[in-house]
């Protein structure tokens, strides 16, 4: 009798107990360390129909996880943008505060607005020049004060 034809030896009592526990675990009674592996192999080979309620629950949970992760990214991105904008505002304020701004000055312009009526046919030129010089003298003084920083 060859080695191959030789009958397997009888199982030991320990092997019999393990086999019994695995069979019961596969039938849904009790647990066994090889039962999860056997189940996974079974579902991979011939997956059963999934319960619609369970499917909905799984989808909701997955989407909720995705949104939690996505919103964190959005908050971080816009939060950083806002912080940068505020930092720029502060920098601009500080910079502008340190630069002396040009004073508001009265500019050269027509004197037409000093006169409300046509000039008399004869005379009156000196009075007109007086009015122009006096008006611009006020502007000139205002410009001097503005340049000196007096308000």
């Amino acid at each position: 009798m060859s080695e191959i034809e030789r009958p397997t030896p009888d199982p030991t009592p320990e092997e019999v107990r393990e086999a019994q526990a695995l069979r019961e675990a596969l039938e849904g009674h009790g647990e066994h360390e090889l039962a999860e592996l056997a189940g996974a192999l079974k579902f991979a080979h011939d997956p059963p129909e999934i319960d619609p309620a369970l499917n909905e629950t799984l989808v909701r949970a997955a989407i909720a996880r995705a949104h939690r992760s996505g919103s964190r990214v959005v908050y971080v991105a816009f939060g950083a943008a806002t912080a940068l904008a505020l930092a720029a505002a502060v920098a601009l304020l500080v910079t502008r505060g340190g630069v002396e701004r040009a004073p508001e000055l009265a500019l050269s312009r027509s004197t037409q607005s000093l006169f409300d009526a046509p000039f008399p046919r004869q005379g009156g030129t000196s009075a007109r020049v007086d009015r122009i010089a006096e008006a611009r003298a006020r502007d000139y003084r205002a410009n001097l004060f503005a340049r000196m920083g007096v308000r």
Partner: protein
Amino acid sequence: MIADCGTRVRSPATWIASLAAIVLVALASWGCTGRDRGETGGASSVAAPPVDTILMAYLSKARSLHHLADMREEDGDLRGAVAELDKLMTTPIPGGAQPMQEALEVLADTYARTAELRGQLGEFDAAERDLEQGLKRAPKVSFFEGHLYEVRGVIAQKRAKALADKGDKDGSEKQRRRAFEDFDQAGRIQDKVIERLLPDAGGHGR
């Protein structure tokens, strides 16, 4: 369900993004306007210079010369009055290549006065030359321009009378027609100025 979740997630983010955008745009525009103000010396016109010492010196000189001319006229010295005012004609105009508006207007008015004085002296050609110079400097559609045309009409009227006295009937009539034209032109200009200045006359004010 997904749309609901999307709305819930985007709303706060949109608010934050909007706030950030508003802050950035406001800062950018404020920065730009501030820079413009600084470059133009705080005024709307870049070209116009501020009222300065040179302009005031010019106006002061013009004022003095006109009062001196007044006194010469009071003394009956019309040539002396013209001579005083001629000093302003040879004074450099503030602003150089871009003369300051006040100086141009005072100079134009001074030319009108010298023309008037020369007309009284019977120096009609010289008077007309002064008026041409004045019209080159006076702003268009202004009391200054209208006054110059008015004085030109007066000069033409005087010239017509002088020619008539000499028996030059054609020459006199020609000058009379010129006087009519100049007075009409002066009237049209003054009407436009008044219309522009007075809202009651249909204008929009100054």
